[in-house]
């Protein structure tokens, strides 16, 4: 209807094309007959070459030629000279096919196959590659082939590095060349090749090199991506490190079975336990595997190290995790006993990239058990926690002596021997910071700001151990705020960054952390021992982090933020009360980390967005009753509760059936109707209170 008249092809073109098609069809019929009858005569092999010249994608013909080559090479009269000439023929056929289509998978693959037979000269291959890579410098087949040739013909990485340099000087926007440079440098550094013994020498030179590209044109993408790689190389610690633990080194942990107010110990390290055990948590700087009773020894009077089972705290079923936990059993009689934990004395803890844990660490703490006398009278005992403002008293206003100094100063563990932070890294970073400040003084550049923010955070965390202070967090927060305004389409990205920096700042020192601690002044339920609440409410957080500094937290208020996920919260093994009121959580699956919190008793998830968005489970393989990830946990007998089909609430079921909650608030969410509440009560027999109502 709206079409324009089409140009009719000229009759003579049509005729020529038809003739060509006719010829191809004839060739093909002949070829298949040779192929199926395993005929490898000179004439037959030549015919396949003709076919490939017209259509290099004809993979059947490539395979036929492989069979033909094998056939001829296996003949008794085949000597090295004739073998070479057979293989050279193949290379010629590939070359002319590639001229027809240098993106042909089949042709490149055939060439690899021929080269792997030996007999060919690397110079020829490099010449061919030069020709193709000049014509199309981004052809990934050619780059893959180049890496293959260099590796199989033992061309030095240094020579290849020089080649990427030449390519970059010809066209610094050629990201393929930058990429290959990163691959080559990784290999050279790993091999500790001559001239590449340390990153200390190599990386600063690379920074110089990339500055040329970035400063020539800050809008070009290639340079920034390479810069990102360099930054990663500069800051990433290869071997995993233990960065914090609970109990903290040097702390006194008091374990009680009921709470009393006259304790001589700090409320920060008093823990209720009626199960006769308490958790020991190890927090590493990256996910590790292999934490077990043979790689971690725990020495105490009351536990045998080899009986301990270490579990990875990760929501996916992976065997690698940043956080590991075990539970120590303790006797019911009075006890004052030191515990020593040594990590990594024998090999076996490795990062997911295969690096060994190489710094053995020791930390120790004391455990005090004081069984309560049966007749000791309690003050008023409450049934529930009320997250009301008037129930919290800022901790900073308390008298000096009640501030627990020990447990905070020892939050981070001393590793022995302590890994030294290399000066060159700090130096390289400060040079980069200077450089990008200069760039930003000349022009407004989003990616420049983002890079500066990343550099500053990397600098701070690297120099942290010396100064114990975040020097630039205010500047970084400002950069992220700027970026949110400058680039609203990636607002959420920057907001996440902002949230994490803010939390780093909050947890950077005892003083700042104490500002966010409050004392819960109302009477507490028996099972909640520490009245200290960390209140990170109203900070417009979109993400939570800095968990390594928060392992001691038992009561946490994250209400009135903008959280959509609580990823990582599973690290807080002591958590017994949690408020997530007034956030942006969209479904129960977002609460997945809670499944790992066995001591959680009080939870407030009211006024979130749960139930507003439909979740598609039927057509998609996700963690649902239909996928094998959770299949084993889903008991088919449990599909109906009362008259309600559980399948409608499978996501809630999977979370709540693993929790031992006593108090839950869920009002103000789309899903929280009476029917759903009745299901919750059945799923959680332990529940005493739901939305402020006592359950019978």
């Amino acid at each position: 209807m709206h079409g324009r008249p089409r140009k009719a092809p000229k009759p003579e073109d049509e005729a020529a094309s038809a003739a060509k098609a006719q010829k191809l069809r004839a060739l093909q019929t002949q070829f298949f007959s040779y192929h199926h009858n395993k005929i490898y005569t000179k004439e037959a092999v030549e015919l396949s070459a003709k076919l490939l010249e017209i259509n290099p994608e004809s993979y059947t013909a490539w395979n036929y030629r492989k069979l033909a080559v094998e056939h001829h090479l296996s003949q008794p009269e085949c000597d090295p000279d004739s073998a070479k000439s057979i293989l050279d023929d193949e290379l010629r056929v590939v070359e002319s096919a590639l001229r027809q289509n240098f993106k042909s998978y089949g042709a490149w693959h055939h060439r690899k196959w021929v080269i792997s037979k030996g007999h060919s000269s690397i110079d020829n291959e490099l010449r061919l590659l030069d020709k193709f890579q000049k014509a199309d410098s981004r052809n990934f087949h050619a780059w893959n082939y180049r890496r293959f040739v260099a590796e199989s013909m033992n061309r030095s990485e240094q020579d290849e590095l020089k080649y990427t340099e030449d390519m970059i000087y010809t066209n610094f926007s050629n990201y393929s060349a930058w990429h290959n440079r990163s691959v080559l440098l990784s290999t050279l550094l790993e091999k500790k090749a001559e001239g590449f013994l340390s990153k200390e020498k190599v990386l600063p030179e690379e920074y110089e090199f990339i500055h040329q590209a970035i400063f020539t044109d800050p809008d070009d993408q290639s340079g920034w991506f390479y810069h990102l790689w360099l930054l990663d190389q500069t800051v990433k610690a290869d071997s995993p490190l233990l960065i914090s633990s609970w109990p903290a080194h040097g702390s006194d942990v008091q374990l009680v079975d009921r709470c009393h107010n006259d304790s001589a110990f700090s409320p920060f390290t008093t823990l209720h336990s009626d199960s006769g055990s308490f958790p020991v948590v190890l927090y590493f700087n990256q996910p590790v595997e292999g934490v077990s009773s043979s790689t971690v020894t725990v020495e105490s009077e009351f536990n045998k190290s080899e009986d301990l089972v270490w579990n990875p705290l990760s929501v996916s079923n992976s065997q690698a995790a940043k956080v590991w936990v075990t539970h120590l059993k303790f006797p019911t009689s009075e006890l004052h006993c030191p515990v020593e934990v040594s990590v990594g004395h024998s090999k076996g803890i490795t990062s997911t990239r295969g690096f060994q844990y190489s710094f053995s660490s020791v930390f120790s703490f004391k455990v005090h058990v004081q069984p309560t006398k049966k007749d000791s009278s309690q003050g008023s005992v409450a049934e529930s926690i009320l997250w009301r403002e008037e129930n919290f008293k800022a901790y900073g206003t308390q008298s000096e002596e009640s501030i627990p100094i020990l447990s905070f100063d020892q939050l981070s563990i001393r590793n022995d021997p302590e890994p030294t932070v290399s000066d060159w890294r700090v130096e390289a970073l400060s040079k980069e910071i200077e450089c990008f400040r200069e760039l930003l003084s000349l022009m407004d550049c989003k990616i420049g700001k983002l890079t500066l923010a990343r550099l500053l955070m990397a600098y701070d965390s690297m120099s942290l151990s010396c100064t114990n202070k975040l020097d630039h967090s205010d500047e970084v927060l400002e950069l992220y705020s700027d970026l949110m305004k400058l680039d609203p389409s990636h607002h959420q990205c920057y907001k996440d960054g902002h949230s994490l920096v803010l939390l780093k700042q909050v947890t950077s020192s005892r003083e700042s952390l104490l500002k966010y601690c409050s004392k819960y002044t109302d009477s507490v339920p028996l099972t909640i021992c520490s009245p200290i609440c960390l209140r990170l409410n109203n900070l417009s957080l979109s993400r939570v982090g800095a968990f390594e500094k928060l392992l001691w937290v038992q009561m946490l208020d994250l209400s009135h933020n903008e959280l959509q996920s609580i990823e990582g919260l599973e690290a807080l093994q002591l958590l017994s009360s949690l408020s997530l009121r007034n956030n942006k959580l969209r479904s129960f699956t977002a609460l997945d980390p809670l499944r790992k919190l066995k001591s959680l008793r009080v939870l407030d998830i009211s006024y979130n967005h749960i139930g507003e968005h439909s979740i598609d489970t039927t057509r998609y393989l996700c963690a649902s009753p239909l996928s094998h990830l959770v299949g084993s946990e889903w008991n088919k007998d449990e599909t109906v509760i009362g008259d309600v089909a559980l399948i409608n609430y499978w996501d809630a079921f999977l979370i709540f059936k693993e929790l031992n909650l006593k108090q839950l608030d869920i009002m103000g969410s789309a899903i929280a109707d009476e029917k759903f509440k009745s299901v919750l009560v059945k799923i959680m027999p332990t529940l005493k209170q739901l939305d402020g109502e006592r359950l019978g």
Binding site: H490, H613, I671
Partner: protein
């Protein structure tokens, strides 16, 4: 010392493409509204004619595609299905017969009759048959032999080979796993170590490369991500860096590039756009949504339009212009009213409300690129204005368009709001299942059929 040229060849080419595209946009915005709405219209009839002709008979210039004939079937049939059209029964029969002749007696489909079986053409053939639908098409697939073929292509490393003695790459993994999943023959033997192979291909950029050591690439990123989802190991990927990478592949033209610093190409509307469709589903099921959602909680499509602006600086005009774009904006206004009614009638517990999801990419800008730059008015779609149409680009531009139109909807069953469809609402295409790139109801029919089928391995 050597120094960098201030304008590289890459940059020059990029500038040329930008100029060409912006000239088209400028011409478009200078047009009277009636011509604008014509320009934004999907030329269904012409596309259909171009496609049907391709299925009946191809010109001799298609010789080079001779080893890819099932692909031709899939590109054409899928494009037709996206427009909710059908081929006539005779052609359907012929296609099924033709594909049966491509099926190897020992399993798998070759690029044509007599050719050896190949994973990519197997994927294309199976997807074609699913798209055709019906018991005849479904039961023409020898599932038992298919399974044996897939197993033969499995490399001890975990990856798959494209064909006997062929190359191992991410494409091969995706096509094998996708086919196995569709035909309900996916088992632990096929899955074993595939995840490790895909993981070894994720680069520091965040995207996924075709093979270890190579650079991140749009097509492979789709294939790798879809594979990981299908085998239920998607958590092993570094998803946040993958998202970082893919959001930066949308350029000032509105379309996507395939790799860092490459030119825009219409086919990545699906390969990159499909990654967003996968991520969206992933996050809606995991309850996270990593990026956007401005600040206004009640941001309807209107504010989404203004927050989802183009990534690159200096292109402010575009989204403003878009929201004023002729007929589109009129329909948007009408919709506003119906939308309000809808919100007033929310039944919270049943979740029938129009779900609000913010796409992680600029969906309207991509639709604009597809309709104005990739579409040939007399049928067929293309890479970019300087290129000519072909069936491959027609298929993947249309697939990308379908993904865009539903980028705000969380539920494929309810039609999207008119304002999320650029141009007249009649542009709306059928929803796809992003894991397989099949039209959703065709997938469902096949899914039911193969779920009923007996386990062939027993």
């Amino acid at each position: 010392m050597e120094s960098f040229l201030s304008l590289t060849v890459t940059q020059r080419d990029q500038i040329l493409v930008e100029q060409q595209v912006f000239n088209m946009y400028k011409a478009f915005y200078d047009m009277p509204p009636s011509s604008q709405s014509f320009m934004l219209e999907l030329q269904r009839e012409n596309h259909l004619e171009y496609l049907t002709k391709g299925l009946r008979q191809l010109g001799p210039s298609f010789c080079v595609l001779d080893a890819n004939r099932p692909w031709m079937c899939y590109w054409i049939l899928h494009s037709i299905a996206l427009m909710d059209e059908f081929v006539d029964p005779e052609l359907e029969d012929n296609t099924i017969d033709f594909l049966s002749r491509c099926q190897d007696p020992n399993g798998g489909y070759g690029g044509g009759p007599g050719q050896m079986p190949h994973l990519a053409t197997t994927y294309a053939a199976v997807n074609s048959l699913v798209t055709l639908g019906g018991d005849k098409a479904f039961s023409s697939i020898n599932r038992e032999k298919q399974y044996m073929f897939l197993l033969r292509m499995k490399d001890p490393s975990g990856g798959f080979r494209m064909h006997e003695a062929g190359e191992i790459d991410v494409r091969a993994c995706y096509t094998a796993i996708s086919v196995a999943s569709l035909l309900n023959i996916l088992d632990d033997d096929l899955v074993q170590n595939v995840g490790n192979y895909i993981l070894s291909c994720q680069t520091y950029e965040g995207g996924i490369a075709g093979e270890p050591g190579s650079e991140a690439h749009g097509g492979y990123t789709f294939c790798g991500l879809a594979t990981m989802i299908l085998i239920n190991e998607v958590d092993r990927l570094d998803l946040s860096s993958l998202i970082d990478w893919v959001v930066f592949r949308q350029g000032v033209e509105g379309g996507f590039q395939g790799r860092t610093n490459k030119l825009v190409d219409g086919c990545y509307s699906f390969w990159q756009g499909g990654v967003f469709a996968l991520l969206k589903r992933l996050h809606s099921t995991k309850g996270e949504q990593p990026i956007p959602l401005g600040d206004g909680e009640d941001s309807g499509a209107e504010s989404s339009q203004s927050t989802a602006s183009l990534d690159a600086a200096g292109e402010k005009g575009l989204d403003e212009d878009l929201s004023q774009g002729g007929s589109h904006s009129e329909q948007g206004d009408q919709d506003d009213a119906s939308c309000r009614v809808n919100i007033d009638n929310i039944d919270h517990s049943s979740g029938t409300r129009h779900a609000k999801v913010e796409p992680l990419f600029n969906s309207l800008a991509l639709q604009q690129y597809i309709l104005l730059c990739s579409q040939e008015l007399n049928g067929g779609l293309r890479d970019k204005p300087s290129k000519s149409r072909d069936h491959y680009h027609t298929c993947y531009c249309l697939s990308g368009l379908s993904v865009c139109q539903r980028s705000w909807s969380e539920d494929e069953d309810s039609p999207p709001l008119p304002r999320s469809v650029l141009g007249p609402y009649s542009n709306l295409l059928e929803p796809i299942h992003p894991l397989y790139n099949l039209v959703l109801d065709r997938y469902q029919e096949a899914h039911e059929f193969f779920t009923r089928s007996k386990d062939p391995v027993l």
